[in-house]
Amino acid sequence: MKKPFLIPAAALLLSLVAGAAQAAQGTVLRNDKLYAQPSAASKVAGSAAKGARVTILSKQGGWLKVTAGRTTGWIRLLSVRAGAGGLGGAGIGDVVGAATTKSDPSRVVAVAGLRGLNEEDLKKAKFNGEELGRMDAWSATPAQARSFAGQSGLVAANVPGLPEPKPAQSSSPWESNQ
């Protein structure tokens, strides 16, 4: 377990370095295979166990090219998390910025200094009808949206819904009320 850097400046510098380099850290989220190509039909190059650290080299569609131990191969995008936080959960974060995306200096500007939204802001908020009217004026019609989609060749595709994976420990009120 690496010690987190507490000094924002150090984190910032590290992010910049990581962003500039091609490789990024990641953790395997579930046992999965490494393939020779970004396709499940290609030759199996090896396997990676849940919790294993990998180095992310590149990505393509739903695949990441990673090095796990001495094996390099392609693993499913959803079988790995980027960043140095390990298996995740419980808000454990990273000091190394995500580098699976292109290096972009605007991404790492003043990470610790900016103020986010908080609960108090939202609680105290007073209805703003003027802004709502502005939002209304920017809305689009279905016909405009279809035309917009057509301009770049977007075509509606028939994609079946995804099944719910095995239920989480607690029973959820959402699933029982569809």
């Binding site: 808000g91 990273d94 995306t101 986010g116 802001d121 209805f127 920017w138 809305s139 917009f148």
Partner: protein, 315 residues
């Protein structure tokens, strides 16, 4: 037979409840008693006259489950069955109020092209949701906070802080699709359902679009705090699954939302810009893991566009 008359009673109550603002609990009891007595006298129940937008089929199917053997009627249970769904009008009113409150905390980015672009992408994705009769509104909020919000009735927001991190139109579509799924699954309405069993909104005091709605505000609490409370984590996982599918149905690559989650997973933990996001959502790593369980190889054959060229970049 009994079930049917109860269903009739409920749709009647639903109708009169929606039409007037009188004491609802009392009305409910009286109506039920009336209907039960009618049943005893073997009088045919009158055909309900549902409000045009209050589908009677929905009210009846919601009312069907109560066990017919049960003699005593649990008014609370009936109330829940009855209010399993807000009418489309009520949903729109609730959404409008939440959206107006949220905009009271954060204004929209003053960039016509950006806002217009987001509305076009959002509406195109929403067309794949199958939800009819929703007036979708999309907006980019002027804050560096990294988050996105959905309110009932089709109000969707993404913050400038999150928008800046996106690389292409497919990623935007994925984020919007996750929020659209919250609306189509009525996740926030279900939260309101749980917090207030019987909620009679009555008639809107004002029909002006720009006016606050006191009855709705009373239902949703202080300001836009409902947006800070968050949803059940399973609702978030569900919205991830549905969001990926909606984006793919719109012709985008399904990997837009997962790539955004990967980006968030790599952000520093102690970052003010994500504190609200992490308070209201499971960790991105957990979301990726759950999504991975559902997806497996199911999307291997799906091809879609990323459209990095058309993606509108904030200056």
């Amino acid at each position: 037979m009994k079930i049917k008359s109860m269903a009739v009673a409920i749709s009647l109550v639903a109708f009169s409840g929606a039409a007037s603002g009188i004491d609802f609990g009392k009305l409910l009891e009286e109506r039920i008693n009336q209907e039960l007595n009618k049943d005893k006298q073997t009088q045919p129940a009158p055909a309900p006259q549902p409000a045009p937008n209050q589908a009677p089929a929905e009210a009846q199917s919601a009312a069907a489950p109560p066990p017919p053997a049960k003699q005593k009627i649990d008014a609370r249970q009936l109330g829940f069955a009855l209010f399993g769904d807000y009418s489309p009008e009520e949903e729109a009113r609730i959404g409008k109020q939440i959206a107006g409150d949220l905009l009271g905390a954060v204004p929209l980015v003053r960039d016509d092209k950006l806002q217009r672009y987001v509305n076009l992408v959002g509406n195109w994705v929403a067309l794949q949701s199958g939800r009819q009769g929703v007036a979708w509104h999309f907006g980019v909020l002027d804050t560096e906070d990294i988050n996105a919000f959905a309110a009932p009735g089709g109000y969707i927001f993404v913050t400038k802080g999150l928008y800046r991190r996106l690389n292409n139109e497919a990623e935007l579509a994925g984020v919007l699709a996750h929020e659209i799924a919250h609306v189509t699954k009525k996740h926030h309405l279900k939260v309101l359902k749980q917090s207030s069993l019987i909620s009679e909104l009555g008639k809107a005091v004002s029909n002006k679009a720009q006016d606050s709605d006191p009855a709705v505000q009373n239902l949703i609490g202080n300001g836009a705090e409902i947006m800070a409370r968050g949803l059940d984590k399973n609702a978030e996982y569900e919205a991830d699954r549905i969001g990926v599918v909606f984006a793919a149905r719109a012709g985008y690559t399904p990997w837009g939302l997962p790539n955004v989650l990967q980006d968030l997973a790599g952000l520093p933990a102690k970052d003010n810009r994500t504190s609200l996001l992490y308070k209201t959502h499971p960790h991105p790593a957990d979301r990726l893991a759950m999504l991975g369980e559902a997806v497996g190889g199911r999307l291997d054959a799906v091809r879609g566009k990323e459209l990095p060229g058309r993606f509108y970049r904030i200056r």
